[in-house]
Amino acid sequence: MYASQTTYHRAGSVSEAVRLLSENEGAKILAGGHSLIPLMKLRLSSPEALVDIGRIESLKGITGKDGAVCIGALATHAEIASSDVVSERVPLLAEAAGKVGDPAVRNRGTIGGNVSHADPSSDLPTVLTALDASYCVTGPGGERTIAAADFATGLLETALGENEVLTCVCVPSEPSGSGSAYVKFSHPASRYAVLGAAAVLTADGGRCSSASVAIGGVEPMAARSASAEAALAGSDLSDGALDAAAAAVCGDFGDNVLEDIFASSEYRKAMGPVYVRRALCEARARMG
């Protein structure tokens, strides 16, 4: 409840943030603070300096672009969940954002902070992986883009380079006529996802023309299930097809399955197909 001493630097622009990060060794970026401050309160994180990017105007806002939605890193979960353009183009993201934490957390936690924290029990990385989102980052060497699937590199680890700032998340619109769903097994205490399953289904002439399935909470990083997607591709999306696809997800789990006192790795693995099945079923029902 009482964080360690630190210094505070407020950035007025992305370039200033990058400069402040470079100048202050051991600095951490502070946006909404909903990943960092809880750790600081318990002294599990004691950054020597904080670079506050929370007032950088260019990082705010949600805009629709050609076939995509661009979401500023400072957009809060509540803003995303209630955004018309998000709901129209990427309803899966709106659904997941509305299930993060609780209302007060959603009011202050940001998409940038959330994905930069790379917590596998978080909701957004799972759906952003399913949606083939890409992350725009700015660092001393300029700007670059990282695919959602490549962003997290391990438990609480990302491809963000030293002194790089995540500025924007670009999410391609869900295909027209598709259906999507995010089904969450919420931890009763923390409200993090013990397991989250995301699915996007598109059909053409009664056959599945594209399928995207991602699972979070089981492995150190949210990941797509290639086996489930392969099983769905070209299928008739019947109950049997969904069953087969759901059953296939187990084959994609590696050796490093998460476990805690609430849910063992064996249980998480077993719940994978169950939650994927439910997400697929819901996504199918929402296809238009």
Partner: protein, 784 residues
């Protein structure tokens, strides 16, 4: 016509300050020149302390002092246990406020820093170097009692603090003659009370006068004063304990903790006020927890379902040290309740109180009775399953028939009054039990797993006659006192020694006064929580405040009424026997126009211009009420759940609570107590449980892992009641604070087992988390 006040659900008088943020809890208090303490706690569950090096703290910003066990040793006396149960070979090992040589649980205090701010005190804690030699750890109370288990206290062999036995009838005979027996091993996991207000203490020592004032989050400030005196050596009359607004307790604010003593020590050393407030993570480590029973239980019965015997062996974890009341919880408040609402002729139990390397265990809402109710109601359901009869029928067959004035049970206690069939009838009617069972059958045909569980109970509360308190080793009395003071304007102050902290007695006690002498409820102010201005009392716990303290208020007010009658007779120039009372007016029989209001009397008594010969001035009365017996509320609860067999998730869908707490002073408050109690009992059935690993590390160390019930996890609770007045209580009340918690764990647990029975699952340890339920289903389906 005035509204009937006693018995009506009026809004609470304490609420305006609470809903506007104007109430003052301990941590809200800021004294001039106050410093802040932070306590360094052992990261080991069991270790020898080789050395404590505080040199790194010196000269750190804001630091005023650092103290270790070396400093408090010989200055502070040990933290006492105050319930020394007789005939039990109880051992009471030393419990130093700050550990000097050895730590015995994660959280044991090792040093304290006092600084200008809490942030600075926390910074300094990180600079203290402690060299520990880790020792072997034992967590399970049953394992701790076995030969060869790590020894937590050198002078307590096998960690067994006490062995307490109970026997009524001939249980062995009952079991050897039984047609059927059922048995189980029930794990009642450790629970963390989670009063929303963390514990806090402010000590202010005034050296020149020798006065020590302690603001403390206590349920019983008078006991806290007594124990502060014992531990610090400051004479009792120079200690003032103030429990300001207290944010819930549920038993966890009964004990006298090392932290209060250490805070007082710091203030006495430095001569300035010192505040200590626990963080929530600290609370999880150090504040007393509840339950921690391993219960090996069995029941004997005839083939037609008549219970003939009950036998138990219970290992009750006590944690690393004895807390204030801990020995009494698994014995007096548990074993004596083994008959429940049933006529069971033969009952025996052996209870081992066992030290283990965890936070001390003490009273937690229900304290002993949920643990008893759980085992009885579990066995009754197992018996019903074995006999293949409806569990409701087994209950009916064994209920003690309705009685109004005393019924002896085999454990040796005498229930005051009861009508157990009545509450069950009301409950089953409200829930439409037959339809529920039909719905369940339909659901099963669809492959859905609906379960219905019943929990019936009798509890012991209104603690209690002081003579019994003495006989069972409670190192205090259990009476309560009240002063009722009428001011000249007819307004009233009531001072009580009990210390409500959310239960609403500022309202219900005002209703008692209003009901007795006809003043407006808003004209009565109830004062509590300050040992300098309230009369002696033993505190608020065990559902005793309304039952015992309320009785004292009623008796004192009746004395006021008698005096008022005599004064009215004098002023109206009539004989006292001709004075009648109605609705706040005293009048001459047959001439209601000739009257004096209670306000007239209050004025005349206070000015004392015209008093009858020999009558003292003033209108004030005090009463000391020592109850002639405990009270025994009872009830029947019913839960409906549905289990998702694929995931193991349990959804609590419906809940019915029917409680008989005797006469109700404020039904709205009664209902609120039931709501909260039910949820606190459902919590451990489904979500709550403190988990220590084999090294004694608390894995559920914060609200991130310890799952407290939240609004979205719960159904609406339907609350109904019946009224069987207590025959021995001046107002007929019994008590309601714990009832919900006592019944609901069993009701919810039984409902889940009812849902799982067709799947072949007969038992799962609580809490019934999805994984545990899923595993049980899998094992059963796979023939495991």
């Amino acid at each position: 016509m005035t509204m009937r006040v006693f018995g009506s659900g009026i809004r609470r008088r304490e609420d305006p300050r609470l809903i506007t943020g104007r109430a003052s809890y301990t941590d809200d208090i800021k004294l001039q020149g106050m410093a802040h303490a932070a306590i360094l706690r052992s990261p080991y569950a069991h270790a020898r302390i080789r050395s404590v090096d505080t040199s790194g703290v010196e000269g750190q910003p804001g630091v005023l002092a650092v103290f270790t066990g070396e400093d408090t040793d010989g200055v502070l006396n040990g933290i006492p246990c105050a319930w020394l149960i007789p005939e039990s070979d109880l051992k009471t090992p030393d419990h130093p406020a700050i550990a000097k040589d050895r730590v015995r649980y994660v959280g044991d205090a090792v040093a304290v820093v006092v600084a200008e701010s809490r942030y600075e005190a926390e910074d300094a804690l990180e600079r203290i170097e402690v060299d520990y030699e880790p020792l072997e750890v034992v967590v399970s109370p049953r394992e701790a009692a076995q030969d060869g288990a790590p020894q937590i206290h050198d002078d307590v062999p096998n960690n067994v603090a006490f062995t307490w036995a109970l026997a009524g009838g001939d249980t062995d005979e009952a079991f050897s003659n039984a047609d059927v027996t059922v048995g189980d091993t029930i794990m009642l996991q450790r629970l963390i009370a989670n009063a929303m207000e963390p514990r806090s203490a402010i000590a202010q020592w005034v050296g020149p006068t020798g006065d020590l004032t302690l603001w403390s989050t206590s349920q019983n400030p008078h006991i806290a004063r007594f124990l502060t005196s014992v531990v610090t050596g400051v004479p009792e009359h120079k200690v003032r304990v103030i429990a300001p607004e207290v944010g819930g307790g549920f038993g966890s604010k009964i004990p006298y903790y090392p932290d209060e003593a250490v805070t007082a020590f710091c203030s006495m050393k430095l001569g300035i006020p010192v505040k200590w407030t626990e963080t929530r993570s600290e609370d999880y480590q150090i504040t007393t927890q509840g339950r921690d029973h391993v219960e090996e239980v069995e029941m004997a019965a005839t083939s037609d379902g008549k219970i003939t015997g009950l036998r138990t062996t219970v290992y009750a974890g006590l944690g690393a040290y004895l807390s204030t009341a801990s020995p009494g919880i698994p014995t007096i408040l548990h074993g004596l309740m083994y008959s429940g609402p049933y006529d069971i002729p033969n009952i025996s139990g052996t209870i081992y109180g066992v030290f283990n390397n965890g936070a001390p265990v003490d009273a937690y809402r229900g304290a002993g009775r949920p643990e008893a109710t759980m085992l009885i109601e579990r066995l009754v359901d197992l018996l019903a399953a074995k006999l293949d009869v409806d569990p409701v029928e087994v209950r009916r067959k064994n209920f003690i028939p309705a009685f109004e004035d005393g019924h002896d049970v085999a454990t040796g206690i005498t229930y005051d009054s009861g009508d157990y069939n009545a509450t069950l009838d009301i409950c089953l009617d409200a829930a439409d039990y037959a339809s529920l069972r039909a719905r369940q059958a339909d659901a099963r045909k669809e492959g859905r797993h609906v379960g219905i569980g019943v929990g019936t109970y009798v509890e012991i509360c209104g603690l209690g006659p002081s003579q019994v308190a003495g006989a069972v080793g409670f190192q205090g009395g259990l009476w309560e006192s009240a002063i009722v003071r009428f001011h000249p304007t007819g307004k009233v102050n009531v001072m009580v020694g009990s210390s409500p902290h959310g239960q609403g007695e500022e309202t219900t006690f005002a209703q008692i006064v209003a009901g007795e002498v006809g003043v407006d409820v808003d004209d009565v102010e109830v004062i509590h929580g300050d040992t300098d201005i309230t009369p002696m009392g033993w505190g608020t716990y065990g559902s005793r405040t309304t039952a015992v303290s309320g009785a004292a208020v009623a008796v004192a007010t009746r004395k006021i009424k008698e005096k008022s009658k005599a004064l009215a007779a004098h002023l109206l120039e009539a004989a006292a026997e001709d004075i009648e009372y109605e609705g706040g007016r005293f009048f001459v029989r047959g001439s209601p126009d000739q009257h004096k209001t209670i306000q007239d009397i209050a004025l005349m008594a206070n000015v004392a211009w015209d008093m009858p010969e020999g009558m003292e001035p003033g209108l004030e009365a005090s009463a000391f009420y020592d109850p002639p017996n405990f009270t025994y509320p009872f009830g029947a609860h019913l839960a409906v759940v549905e289990v998702d067999a694929q995931t193991g998730h349990v959804e609590l869908q419906q809940y019915y609570a029917v409680d008989d707490c005797g006469v109700q002073i404020n039904p709205m408050i009664v209902e609120g107590q039931v709501h909260g109690g039910v949820v606190q009992g459902a919590g451990p059935a489904l979500w709550e449980g403190a988990v220590y690993d084999d090294d004694g590390q608390l894995l559920t160390g914060s609200m991130l892992d310890y799952a407290l019930p939240r609004a979205d996890l719960l159904p609406e609770i339907e609350v109904l009641s019946n009224t069987t007045p207590s025959p021995h209580h001046p107002l007929g009340v019994k008590g309601i604070g714990e009832a919900g918690t006592i019944a609901s764990t069993a009701a919810v647990y039984n409902a889940v087992m009812d849902a799982l029975r067709p799947l072949g699952v007969s038992g799962v340890d609580m809490p019934l988390t999805p994984e545990k339920v899923w595993r049980a289903i899998n094992q059963s389906q796979n023939g495991g």
